[in-house]
C-alpha cells in the first residue's frame, strides 16, 4: 500500500459554535498518513480551533473527528490523555517550560512516559538535540537564554522525544527573521524525512504561503470555518479559487 493512501485524520461534518458564532462549519476533509499537510487561511479562519479538535482539546458541537482510527469525540479522561501521546506539537513560541533547562525540557516527556534509566535519557536527549542541530553548549541553558530559533529547535526536539505518529506545528515561523524562518522550514522537511520510515504525518498551521508551497505535500485553505480548497501543493499554486489566488498572489 502507498504510504499516503490511508487517512490518518478524518473530519466528518465538524461544526463548532462559540457563543452563537460558528468557527468551524460542516467541515469535512482527510489528512493522509505520512504527508506534510498545511492548513492555510486568514486569521480567524478556524485553523487553531481545528488543530485543537484533532488533539481532543476541544469537542465539536456536531460531527466526528477520527484520528488514528479513534473517534476523538468519544474519548474521555485517561483514554484521551493516552491518545494525546500519539502527538508531538511545536507551539508558536515553542512553549518551553521556563524553569527547566534545554536538557530538562527535552528529557521531560521521556522521564514522564518511559522507564529509561538516566543514562538512556541522557543519550536520547543528546540524539534529539543533535538531530535539530543544537550543540551541547545549549544543554544547560534556560529558555530565556536562548534565541527564538534555538527555542523552536528545542521545542521540536521535545515534541519528537516520544516518536509521535502525528507532528503538529502551530505557526512555526511566526515572529522569526527570514534566515531563522528558512532554517525552521528546512528542519520541518528534514524531520519529516527522518521519520518517513515510520510514516509520521506532519500537520502545519501557517500564514507563510511561500514556505507552505515549498514544504507541503498537501495544502488545505480554510475560510470562515470551511475548507474551500484542498489540493496537492503543485496544484494548489495554480488554483483558480479567488480566495486562494488572493493569498498566493500576495
Amino acid at each position: 500500500m502507498d504510504t499516503m493512501s490511508e487517512n490518518v485524520i478524518s473530519l466528518r461534518n465538524v461544526t463548532k459554535i462559540f457563543s452563537d458564532f460558528p468557527v468551524l462549519h460542516e467541515l469535512t476533509f482527510d489528512i493522509k498518513r505520512g504527508s506534510i499537510t498545511t492548513l492555510l487561511g486568514f486569521s480567524g479562519a478556524g485553523k487553531s480551533t481545528l488543530l485543537k479538535h484533532i488533539l481532543g482539546l476541544l469537542k465539536p458541537t456536531s460531527g466526528d473527528v477520527i484520528v488514528l482510527g479513534q473517534n476523538v469525540v468519544a474519548l474521555e479522561g485517561t483514554a484521551l490523555k493516552e491518545f494525546r501521546q500519539n502527538f508531538g506539537m511545536l507551539f508558536q513560541y515553542a512553549a518551553l517550560f521556563d524553569s527547566l533547562t534545554t536538557f530538562e525540557n527535552v528529557a521531560f516527556p521521556i522521564r514522564e512516559f518511559t522507564d529509561f534509566t538516566e543514562e538512556q535519557v541522557e543519550q536520547k536527549v543528546s540524539e534529539l538535540l543533535t538531530s535539530v542541530n543544537l550543540s551541547d553548549k545549549t544543554y544547560y541553558k534556560l529558555p530565556s537564554e536562548l534565541s527564538g530559533g534555538m527555542r523552536k529547535r528545542v521545542g521540536l526536539a521535545r515534541a519528537l522525544a516520544l516518536q509521535p505518529a502525528i507532528m503538529l506545528y502551530d505557526e512555526p515561523t511566526t515572529g522569526l527573521d527570514p534566515i531563522t524562518t528558512k532554517m525552521v522550514n528546512e528542519l520541518i522537511v528534514q524531520t519529516a524525512k527522518n521519520n518517513r520510515a515510520r510514516k509520521m504525518t506532519s500537520v502545519i498551521i501557517s500564514h507563510d504561503i511561500k514556505a507552505t508551497l515549498q514544504i507541503s505535500d498537501y495544502i488545505a485553505f480554510l475560510h470562515r470555518g470551511r475548507v474551500v480548497e484542498y489540493l496537492p501543493s503543485a496544484e494548489f499554486k495554480k488554483s483558480s479559487n479567488p480566495l486562494v489566488r488572493e493569498f498566493v498572489d500576495l
Binding site: 494525546r84 506539537m89 507551539f91 508558536q92 518551553l96 517550560f97 521556563d98 514522564e112 512516559f113 503538529l168
Partner: protein, 265 residues
C-alpha cells in the same frame, strides 16, 4: 417604555452580578472537586511537592520570623501598659501566648503566605497558561491540574501550620524578651503565669486554622492562576485576585472557624 427601562437597568445589573458570582462559585466548586479527585490518583508527584514545600515553607521563613518576633514584642508592650493600669501586668506572658496561639499566628502567617506564595502560585501558573506551557502539558497527555495545582495545594496546606508554629515560638520569645528585659517583669513570674494559663489544647485551635488557611490560600492561588486569560494584563489581574481573595477569605473564615472551634475544643 423609557421609564420601564430606567427601572429595569439596576435590576439587570443586580442580576448580572448575582449570575456572575454564582458562575464563579460553580467554577470554584468544580476546581475543589478536581483537587479531591486528583489527589488520590497516581502518579504521585513527590518531587514537585517537596519543591513547593521548600518554596512556600522554607522561603517564607525569614519574613515569618521577622513578623513573629516584632508582633510578639509589640504585643508585650501594648498588653503591659494596659494591664499595669489594673495591676495584672504579670499576665502579659499568657495573654500574648494565647493570642498568638489562637489568632495572631495563624491569621498573620496566613496573610503573609497569601501575599507571598499565593501570589507566586497565581503568577507562575498564569504565566504558564498565557505562554502555552499549560497547553504543552495537556498535549503531552499530562493533566495540568494534577501536575501544577495538586502539589501546590498539598504543600500549602502542610506548610502553613509549620510556619504558624514558628511564628508563635518566635513571637513568644520576643514577648518574653521585652517583658522580662525591657519591662522588668520577673522571669519566674512570667513562666509561672504562662504555665498556669496556657495549655497544650490552646495550640490546637491555631493549628487547625492554619491547615484550613493554607488550603484556602493555595486553592485560590492556583484557581486564579488557571483562570488567567489575557496575556500579561491577565497574569497581573489573576495575581491580584489571588492575594485579595486569599486575605479576605482568611479574615472571614477566621470568624466562623473561631465560633465553631471555641465550642468544640
Amino acid at each position: 417604555m423609557k421609564r420601564l427601562k430606567k427601572v429595569a437597568k439596576p435590576i439587570e445589573h443586580i442580576g448580572d452580578v448575582v449570575l456572575s458570582t454564582l458562575k464563579e462559585m460553580g467554577k470554584m466548586t468544580k476546581f475543589l472537586y478536581l483537587f479531591f479527585y486528583w489527589v488520590t490518583k497516581p502518579p504521585y508527584r513527590t518531587a514537585l511537592f517537596f519543591e513547593q514545600l521548600y518554596f512556600i515553607g522554607n522561603k517564607s521563613l525569614f519574613i515569618i520570623i521577622l513578623s513573629g518576633l516584632f508582633t510578639g514584642m509589640v504585643m508585650a508592650y501594648q498588653t503591659y501598659f494596659g494591664f499595669k493600669m489594673i495591676s495584672v501586668d504579670s499576665l502579659v506572658g499568657p495573654v500574648v501566648a494565647l493570642t498568638m496561639a489562637k489568632e495572631l499566628a495563624p491569621v498573620l502567617s496566613g496573610l503573609i503566605v497569601s501575599g507571598r506564595a499565593g501570589a507566586a502560585m497565581a503568577a507562575q501558573i498564569g504565566t504558564m497558561k498565557v505562554t502555552e506551557q499549560v497547553d504543552a502539558l495537556e498535549v503531552m497527555g499530562i493533566d495540568s491540574f494534577q501536575y501544577l495545582a495538586v502539589p501546590r495545594i498539598i504543600a500549602g496546606t502542610i506548610s502553613l501550620p509549620m510556619l504558624s508554629i514558628i511564628f508563635q515560638l518566635v513571637g513568644n520569645t520576643g514577648s518574653w524578651f521585652v517583658g522580662t528585659k525591657a519591662l522588668m517583669i520577673d522571669d519566674a513570674m512570667y513562666y509561672s503565669k504562662l504555665s498556669d494559663f496556657m495549655f497544650i489544647e490552646d495550640l490546637y485551635q491555631g493549628i487547625i486554622k492554619s491547615f484550613f488557611f493554607g488550603f484556602l490560600i493555595s486553592l485560590l492561588g492556583t484557581y486564579f492562576g488557571f483562570s488567567v486569560t489575557k496575556g500579561a494584563e491577565g497574569v497581573g489581574k489573576g495575581t491580584n485576585l489571588a492575594v485579595v481573595w486569599g486575605m479576605i477569605t482568611i479574615l472571614i473564615s477566621d470568624y466562623f472557624l473561631t465560633s465553631i472551634l471555641i465550642r468544640i475544643l
